[in-house]
């Protein structure tokens, strides 16, 4: 269950306390996130909404260990990541986080198969095991027959499916999706959200997603609203939706 009041249980998967992030631009200090608390349990599906500059993507970057906070702590599975060294954080990311970006960010010179295999190259899996994993996740995202296609030979929706396959192939602790449907038409966006929904419901994945699209946000169990770096409200998914 998602909580934003800082009273979550200590066994929450993700536990954020007093998170601050500020940037200095010239002589100006910009507070992007201010005193943010958040608890996310395993299997939760949370959406973050808010106007541009509200701190959604910054929050995602901090949760994913891509950036470090100015103050506050983030613990994932009881590991506090805020004080990890850069190299430890990199290794932690490889084990615990799956990223899905708006612009897919696939390597254009690698096939879908090779793109999905990338995170597994960091593991000690044999080539045969890697192949098994990649084929499995490509089947899960419905692209078993496109595995040897290059990104340029795939549609936007298919590219995003490959990105999702890449994000889940190493079975990370949670997925971070930054505007996963931002570059897709409605039909493709629905297909991607169906897929993410399946990952949560069928495979018990924990998903944190940033979106501008209310229709997409509605797919999450809870939508958290950010404004000027603070959480200003939460909308729980209506039963039956």
């Amino acid at each position: 269950m998602v909580r934003v009041d800082g009273t979550g249980m200590s066994d929450s998967l993700i536990c954020v306390r007093g998170l601050d992030k500020k940037y200095t631009r010239g002589s100006e200090e910009i507070h992007v996130l201010q005193g943010l608390n958040l608890d996310v349990d395993r299997g939760d599906f949370v959406a973050f909404m808010g106007p541009s500059g509200s701190g959604k993507t910054t929050l995602l970057n901090l949760l994913g260990g891509l950036d470090v906070p100015s103050a506050g702590t983030i613990s994932v599975d009881r590991d506090e990541i805020t004080h990890m060294s850069s190299s430890k954080l990199t290794a932690w990311r490889a084990r615990h986080v799956g990223f899905v970006f708006q612009m897919y960010n696939l390597i254009p010179v690698l096939t879908a198969y090779q793109n999905v295999e990338l995170p597994l190259l960091l593991t000690k899996l044999s080539k045969a095991d890697r192949k098994r994993h990649v084929e499995t996740v490509l089947a899960v995202v419905g692209l078993a027959d496109r595995m040897h296609h290059y990104p340029r030979q795939l549609s936007g929706g298919q590219e995003q499916r490959v990105t999702i396959a890449r994000a889940i192939v190493s079975d990370p602790t949670f997925l971070l999706c930054d505007e996963p449907t931002g570059d897709l038409d409605r039909k493709a966006a629905d297909e991607i959200m169906d897929l993410i929904g399946r990952l949560v419901q069928e495979y018990g994945k924990t998903v944190l997603m940033v979106t501008h699209d209310p229709a997409v946000a509605q797919r999450a169990q809870m939508t958290l609203h950010l404004e000027k770096g603070s959480l200003v409200g939460a909308t729980e998914k209506a039963v039956g939706k």
Binding site: L66, R95, F101, M103, N105, P119, L121, L122
Partner: protein
């Protein structure tokens, strides 16, 4: 090895650019190989010169003769084991462009003095008994398609007139770098028709102990001091070296050309790698987001550069080797025309160094890339 497909895929995203960069390495290394061959051709005489041989020439100049009588006096000097003498003939075979060195030799002592050159006993025996006989090096014989038994006409220049020789044998070098472009004939035959009798071009002596070479050289020159034919004696190495110096500072010229070529290659490669890294900032950022370490990013860029250097450098050295297999293209000016293994190793090492240095800045850029900034920019 599991990252090799990623490295190769990155290199071939811009096939023309990669091909041109590999081509730059290949051309530079080919040039390096050829320069190394030319340098070797000029200095090989110095490298392979016998350490126990001294060359005795007229103090005035090499082209001034020495009396034949010096031979006996030389052999009496303590520490000298063998003595032989030679004359430069300088004739023309068919056409002036067919240059090759011709020596009138002391048949009795030639083989003992130059054991690195081998001739079969039968051929040598025939040659020794044939006053008009001659021995040619295998490269020379191959160049003109000569066979044992052929009659070789040579037009004299220093020693005027038409000279004819019977090719009685072919000599071979024991080492790849031995000069097999020479033509030997009897000194006695030359003496018969020479205008001034009783002279030789120079002497070559072998000493018992190479460590005493300098002292013996001094003794020889003292022996003939204040005579009409004073001598200048040097080790064979120093003699060959002074010959090379007469051609100018070949070493400096070659190093300068090579330096400029490699510096240009460094700039070209550095620019190519830097452009390649700049073009895929977002991809590198994604790799980092996926958990690839900073060190991995550094090595990825380095390995791409090294692979280009390795392939391009390898091709260049291969072409240079193939080029030298055809033999001396100047037909005689560069008798030691071959690419030795140390030069190949030096060339490849240099190519890899260029690969590393060219990639340092782009690799550091990739290593220090901040994921958040790079993805935002993308």
């Amino acid at each position: 090895m599991k990252f090799l497909p990623l490295i190769i895929a990155n290199l071939f995203r811009k096939k023309i650019r990669t091909t041109l960069t590999i081509g730059s390495f290949a051309v530079a290394l080919f040039l390096f190989g050829v320069l190394a061959v030319v340098r070797g051709a000029f200095s090989q005489g110095v490298e392979i010169a016998g350490t126990d041989r001294l060359v005795v020439i007229n103090k005035v100049s090499l082209i001034q003769p020495l009396p034949l009588s010096y031979g006996d006096r030389l052999s009496r000097i303590k520490g000298i084991k063998q003595v032989t003498h030679d004359n430069w003939f300088g004739g023309v075979y068919q056409d002036e462009k067919n240059f090759f060195p011709q020596f009138a030799i002391d048949v009795e002592n030639q083989r003992a003095m130059y054991p690195e050159f081998t001739v079969s006993d039968n051929e040598w025996k025939t040659f020794a008994g044939d006053r008009q006989g001659a021995i040619a090096g295998e490269s020379l014989a191959s160049r003109f398609g000569w066979k044992v038994g052929d009659r070789i006409p040579i037009k004299g220049t220093i020693y005027p007139g038409a000279w004819e020789f019977n090719l009685d044998g072919i000599y071979h070098g024991k080492r790849a770098q031995d000069d097999t472009t020479q033509f030997w004939f009897h000194w006695d035959f030359l003496e018969e028709r020479a205008f001034q009798k009783g002279n030789v071009g120079w002497y070559v002596v072998r000493v018992n102990n190479p460590d005493l070479s300098v002292r013996i050289a001094k003794t020889i020159d003292q022996e003939f001091a204040n005579s009409p034919f004073e001598t200048k004696t040097d080790t064979e190495k120093a003699f060959a070296s002074s010959f090379v110096k007469q051609m100018g500072n070949i070493e400096f010229l070659i190093l300068t050309i090579g330096g400029v070529v490699f510096f240009t290659l460094l700039l070209v490669t550095g620019n190519t790698i830097a452009t390649s890294v700049r073009e895929r900032v977002s991809e590198l950022a994604v790799l980092k987001a996926l958990g690839f370490s900073d060190r991995f990013m550094l090595m990825l860029v380095m390995e791409e550069s090294l692979l280009v250097a390795l392939v391009g450098g390898g091709l260049g050295m291969l072409f240079a080797k193939l080029f030298t297999l055809g033999g001396d293209p100047t037909h005689g000016i560069l008798p030691y025309f071959y690419l030795p293994v140390p030069a190949i190793i030096a060339g490849m090492s240099l190519a890899l160094c260029v690969g590393v240095v060219a990639a340092i800045l782009p690799a550091l850029f990739a290593m220090r890339l901040r994921v958040v900034d790079a993805i935002r920019r993308a």
